[in-house]
């Protein structure tokens, strides 16, 4: 796994603490493999291509949002507004290609606008979050709480709270389409994850994000534009939430401002935490986040496929989050 931080003394730990060190680094991945193995043995039809597609498409939106969340958390912040921003993007897109916002004669142009404009809007709203965090030094949890509360209301006001039902193959390609048999949303997820991983690992900006979260004062003293870095990560988080919102409404052929993205902030934070990025900042483990989201999804699938009710799956999910974070912290200490 790619964790950017100093691993000083990791090879000289006493054998007793070895377990936690290993489990911390590979535990989530091991859990991932164990879950797959369990399903292969016990869950009927789990090896089919359809099962794979169902799981990947269900996890795609969480992964996309969680990647933005990983970057925000890496700077020591948090973004509670992602679910509400998804609702705004999801409400906006159908209004554009259905012409309720303004008339557009050319359908391809309308679809292109419906894909770009909502993401731009949520990116700007993310920028607003960043503005509150940097300009007014408001704690991120409170700064993003503002749009968490107001954002869904904005989406509801835009649509008057009504369900927007639509059929538009061009727009819905983002969720329903397939390239070489692979669902488009899965490809989108993989591309976004790859870009984020490369950005963290190979770009100056990626390093700056880690530095800001590691020690903000030190980062400022070494000349890193702390405010600009933070503005950027909140903007990215907002824009990615917008993308996820588009996928959700395209998948459902309908947009319900009351439901799109509900509770997404918690799913995304859980994926980040299970994936090994500590909430204190200074680390960004993109691959960990992807695997964390996959593990949470697989646990849910495994329980549901074996007849365990969804409510019980919530309890298992809770235990899993605690266990994963506990092991990683023990690993971090040793």
């Amino acid at each position: 796994m790619t964790t950017i931080e100093t691993q000083a003394g990791a090879n000289t730990v006493p054998s007793g603490k070895r377990f936690f060190s290993l489990a911390g680094r590979y535990g989530t991945f091991a859990a991932f493999l164990a879950l797959i193995l369990f399903n292969v043995v016990f869950t009927p039809n789990s090896l089919s291509l359809q099962t794979l597609n169902v799981n990947l498409t269900q996890v795609a939106t969480i992964v996309i949002v969680a990647i933005g969340m990983t970057l925000v958390i890496a700077t020591g912040g948090i973004d509670l507004s992602v679910g509400s921003l998804m609702a705004i993007a999801g409400a906006l897109a159908p209004m554009i290609f259905m012409g309720t916002l303004f008339p557009i004669a050319n359908m391809p142009v309308a679809v292109a606008l419906a894909l770009v404009m909502p993401v731009a809007v949520t990116g700007l709203l993310g920028l607003f979050n960043g503005f509150l965090v940097t300009r007014f030094a408001i704690q991120p949890i409170i700064a993003t709480l503002v749009l968490f509360i107001a954002g869904r209301g904005i989406a509801q006001v835009m649509t008057n709270g009504n369900l927007q039902v639509f059929r538009n193959e061009g727009f819905q390609f983002i969720a329903m389409g397939r390239v070489a048999g692979i669902p488009a949303q899965v490809i989108l997820m993989a591309v976004i994850a790859a870009i984020a991983w490369a950005a963290i690992r190979y770009t100056v900006f990626g390093r700056q994000i880690i530095a800001v979260g590691g020690n903000e004062k030190a980062a400022r003293l070494t000349g890193i534009p702390v405010h600009r870095v933070k503005l950027f990560v909140y903007m990215i988080s907002g824009a990615l939430a917008g993308v996820a919102g588009l996928i959700v409404v395209a998948r459902n052929s309908a947009s319900d401002a009351n439901l799109v993205g509900l509770g997404m902030e918690l799913d995304a934070i859980a994926a980040v935490a299970v994936g090994g990025t500590l909430l204190t900042g200074g680390r960004a483990n993109i691959i960990g986040t992807v695997i964390g989201a996959l593990v949470i999804q697989l646990v849910r699938y495994t329980l549901l496929a074996n007849g365990v009710p969804d409510a019980a799956a919530l309890i298992v999910k809770a235990a899993l989050i605690v266990l994963a974070v506990f092991i990683q912290q023990r690993a971090g200490k040793s």
């Binding site: 007014f136 409170i142 749009l147 107001a150 006001v157 912290q329």
Partner: protein, 328 residues
Amino acid sequence: MNALLKALALRSPGDMARLGVILALLGLILFGALRYDNFLSQYNILSFLRYNSMFALIALGMAFVIMTGGIDLSVGGAAAMASVIAALLSPHHWAAGLFGGIAAGLAVGALNGFIVTAMRIQPFIATLATMLAAYGTALLLAGNQSVSVSYDSGFTEIGQGDFLGFPIPAWIGLLAYIAGWLVLERLPIGRHMLAIGGGEATAALMGLKVRRTLIAVYLGSGALAGLAGVILASQFGAGQPTEGVGWELFAIASVVVGGTLLTGGSGSVGATLAGALLLAMVFNILNFENGLGWISLSAYWQSVIRGGFLLIVVVLQARLMSRREEKA
């Protein structure tokens, strides 16, 4: 200006923020009283207190957790679970419902305290997990639907009844806030909580029982959330396994509006009450606007305005703080 501040014994930026919220609350009440004939009517005041006391209870528990530098995201889930358990126990005796609900909240609080102190997991993640578990338990116990309470055992009196002309939930809230004030201002544990919030390592070196204090704080928050769940079930005549979503954020907002910083180490019981009442009052006034048809505000606009209101308050607070810091 400075002389005035001195006269009012305002020493810290926190004091200023707390004074600000109380003034804002008074201003809002004045606005309502001048604009609407029925705003200060007995009916409006009593139903305002009856309905909002459960949110005030949760905000009180949250204030204590935040003072120690933690956070409790599980309060909404704990309240939902408590409402279901209270509803299930209500046919036996009203007290069974009441104490069953509080016990449910205590159980969530105990789990929070254990995960935070023994497993040393950040409160944000610990209480996020217990929130999921509490909702899961509530849904399992309730069979995915709301559970009707018994109307024969007197359980509904807890949320709907009056005592000496005041709603019982308002009495419960009042007693809780008086107890909370005593704990913070008059008992050693109050000082200890603030010390832990100010710096946990230092507090431990000073010989304070950090773990025990933190566990007590999460137990308190859980118990108050449980009590809120009991009132919820009693008021609406049903245990609601899906209710409570977003309550934690409302409580956090109340605490912050009350001038308590999320970093811990400071806080006030009275200002937390003012913060909770202020946010609730915005809602009350919006309902008046609605009812009188001055402007037709849909429920959707209300959350936009609430968010905008929170924005104004936190931006003003931030400016206040930074200005005082520059001077200091």
